[in-house]
Amino acid sequence: MSKADTPSQVADFVRAARADKAPFEIVAGGTRRSVGRPLGELPLLDVSGLSGVLKYEPEELIITAAPATPLAEINAVLVQKNQRLGFDPADWSRLLKSNGVATLAGAASSDASGSGKLRHGGARDSLLGFQAVNGLGETFRGGSKVVKNVTGFDLPKLMCGAYGTLSVLTEMTFRVYPKPQHAVILRLADVTPEDGFAALRRIAHSALEPAGLAYLPAGMMTGVGQGAAVIKLEGARQPLEEKIALAHGLLGNVMQRVDEDPFPAIGCGEKFADIPGDVWRVMVAPSDAPRVARQLQAQHWLGDWAGGVIWLAAAPTEAARIRKVAAEAKGQAMLLRASPESRALHGLYAAQPAALAALGRAVKAAFDPLSLFNPGRL
């Protein structure tokens, strides 16, 4: 394993790998190595030394950090100024049974957003700029360090969800958001998936700016009859009371206020950590969620993002059927946790139409022509 602790060491390593035409795996905290197609026994580039907050400007709503900065460290820094990352980065380490440390770049590169994505969007909506080393061994920048920018191609978007296949990140600048002072959890118990998701969509399309909207069927939450719609609202104390009253008005005064906040565990997939089988995230149009959930026939499942994502556990033999259900709903079934054999066979996502797949390959080659970085993972 090689270690690169500075951007110039990363560039040196990439140039050497390029000269040797030697692909490698990029590792920072190491929590997400089991996601996507297995890379086999490739040399490792350990970038965990590229860590730490470089510049935090709370009044500009901006933070710049080295990519391997632990999420916990970033969150601790931001909370001191009552701010937070907008994309609610999800730490999948318990789900994936990893002992590593979830990092900023790991979360953004795997587009890992928790329930709070509803409010401020995904990593792509928060990453303003970055510095990285491309497959030619050149250090380059994309985006900027201001919140509003349309100068040149929006390369930061591409880095999010690319699973480290385009470049080795060496610096990242995120927009941050004020952290509301209070939050409350409301629960609508004993509802069918149809009624539960319909209630969640009503809140999603209100002016209440919800921070979490999930449906959990009976097996995933106890004491809620056939299932519960769970709603998280945020704000300063008095506005929050008004929002609660408005939510009751929208749904007819049938919700209970509960103490336990299930959303951190939902967003990180922890609800599935101890359930055997493959774990999937199926992204669909929210109104299709009840139907798709039924078609998926999973014993263990839940819906987050008002139905925009369905998490489920399934036997490895179900893979093709799950993909088919997702495709028929014009959605995407992401295989998040599975054996190396399953992941090799089914990939992270379904194969794309030919023209789109070709375009994706061309874009990858524009950054990494020799396919040195995490080859085949995405």
Binding site: E60, S144, T151, L158, G161, E242, Q352, L359, P369
Partner: protein, 493 residues
């Protein structure tokens, strides 16, 4: 500003090209001089160029056939929406086909269950809101040209508006697009599920200024209209005090729906233009919108009033909807009002870190003296997006060139303090030659290779955004030696 040299061989084939396009779109080819004159510029009106021919497709199959033909025949393509680009993004080429998307203006589907609308690219920004407002929804990005500009153009430019700070730019309000690639293939990026199952090409395509393909369908998010909106006007004795107040509001955790700044000169011009009631003795004015549920808005308004007072400013609140509209009508008329002060003006567009505002304003005033040209400032203070308006007179020899040079210096200043060349108008031809001030050779080469991944022949909107002619080379590797760009002998246009 130079455009790449015209290919006279293409111009010589004009009759065959027109005939080929007429076969594809029998009722939508504009080839006569008077017809083409309509399309000879966009909102960067200092630049004019007649296109070789203009074609107005009415469906995606026609777009695909046009692009296939153009690629096979090696003819450049310039896409155009409503022609409201302020950076020359839709400026035609003498040897290029202008593909106007204005006829594709169907609203295909309104899906309230999923909070989205599916439209063709020629639908205007405002017509999306009009289609859903009776049900209490709207489309958030609101560029000042929203009455005319099309959603296809908004995607190309990643358009912003007054409410970006809270609601984001076009890119944050899109779920998907269907686009035709330069070879004629049709691909769909994203959709109602919001997922792409691979690289975020939707994010890349948004704001790509017509360099990567032609968008033929767009899925946008719609939002529920906030039940309450209140408008405050704060006035300050000094520009730095207003700048400090903006930073203090943001640092307090308040994200107003809009926060606009104008200096004394702009306020004075606007006041005499349409009398919105701006205080004429203030050195700087902020107009602030708070929206949301009632208690949220009350809380934000009380925070803002406190902070303004601490910063030495005075706040008045619009007492009713009529006064609110009047205050905003002034801001929206800033451009027209300044037009009364001088025969010509250019509107610049750069973003700076908000803390650099006092420094930038001071240096702009110095530049103004140096160039002997007046200017005023209106800007989206919440997100640091400056719109200095430079006033000049084209009838006076050399003034246009001086105004352009002044504008370029302002943008360089934005970059110098850590900002960018464009916050929402795009690069187009207007700021193309300044790209090297913001980006290194490696940065630009990387973007150039991305362009090549879509458009290996370089036929899409040539001469826009990137300052150097660079061929797409095998494996995308452009050789860079020292600080030299490839092909140093080739002209930078």
């Amino acid at each position: 500003m130079l455009l790449p040299p015209t290919d006279s061989k293409i111009v010589a084939r004009r009759a065959q090209i027109v005939a080929a396009l007429q076969k594809i779109v029998p009722d939508g080819v504009v080839a006569d001089r008077s017809g083409l004159a309509t399309f000879d510029s966009d909102a960067l009106s200092a630049y004019h160029q007649m296109p070789l021919v203009c074609v107005l497709p009415s469906n995606r199959e026609q777009v695909s056939a046009i692009l296939k033909f153009a690629q096979a025949d090696g003819v450049p393509i310039v896409p155009r929406g409503a022609g409201t680009s302020l950076s020359g993004g839709a400026l035609p080429r003498e040897d290029g086909i202008l593909i106007g998307m204005g006829r594709m203006k169907r609203i295909i589907e309104i899906d309230y269950e999923n909070g989205c609308v599916v439209v063709e690219p020629g639908v205007t920004n405002l017509n999306i809101t009009k289609a859903v407002e009776a049900n209490g929804f709207y489309y958030a990005p609101d560029p000042s040209s929203q009455v005319a500009c099309t959603i296809g153009g908004n995607v190309a430019e990643n358009s912003g508006g007054l409410h970006c700070l809270k609601y984001g730019l076009t890119t944050n309000n899109l779920l998907g697009v269907t686009m035709v690639l330069p070879g004629g293939e049709i691909v769909t990026l994203g959709g109602k599920s919001g997922s792409q199952g691979g690289l975020d090409l939707l994010g890349l395509v948004t704001g790509s200024e017509g360099l990567l393909g032609v968008v033929v369908e767009v899925v946008v998010k719609i939002l529920r209209k906030a039940p309450v909106t209140r408008t405050l006007m704060a006035s300050f004795d000094s520009v730095p005090a207003a700048g400090a107040c903006v930073a203090a509001i943001i640092a307090d955790g308040v994200v107003p729906a809009a926060m606009e700044f104008m200096d004394k000169r702009a306020a004075g011009a606007i006041e005499s233009y349409n009398h919105p009631g701006y205080p004429l003795d203030a050195e700087a004015i902020l107009i602030i919108d708070a929206d949301g549920v009632e208690a949220d808005v009350s809380y934000e308004v009380s925070r803002v009033i406190d902070i303004v007072a601490k910063c030495g400013g005075k706040t008045v609140e619009a007492t009713d909807e009529k006064q609110r509209a009047r205050i905003w009508s002034g801001r929206k008329a800033a451009f027209a009002a300044m037009g009364k002060l001088a025969p010509d003006m250019i509107c610049m567009d750069g973003t700076i870190p908000r803390h650099a505002l006092p420094q930038v304003l001071e240096e702009m005033a110095k530049l103004s003296e140096q160039y002997g040209l007046g200017f005023c400032n209106v800007f989206h203070a919440g997100d640091g997006n400056l719109h200095p308006l430079i006033i000049f007179d084209t009838m006076k020899p050399g003034e246009f060139e001086r105004a352009e040079a002044f504008g370029a210096d302002i943008l360089r200043l934005c970059v110098k303090v850590g900002g960018v060349l464009s916050g929402e108008h795009g690069i187009g031809i207007e700021k193309r030659d300044l790209m090297t001030d913001q980006f290194t050779t490696e940065d630009l080469a990387q973007q150039g290779r991305v362009k090549c991944a879509f458009d290996a022949q370089g036929l899409f909107n040539p001469g826009k955004v990137f300052p150097t002619l660079s061929a797409c080379i095998e494996q995308g590797h452009i050789h860079v030696h020292g600080a030299q760009l490839p092909h140093p002998h080739l002209p930078r246009y």
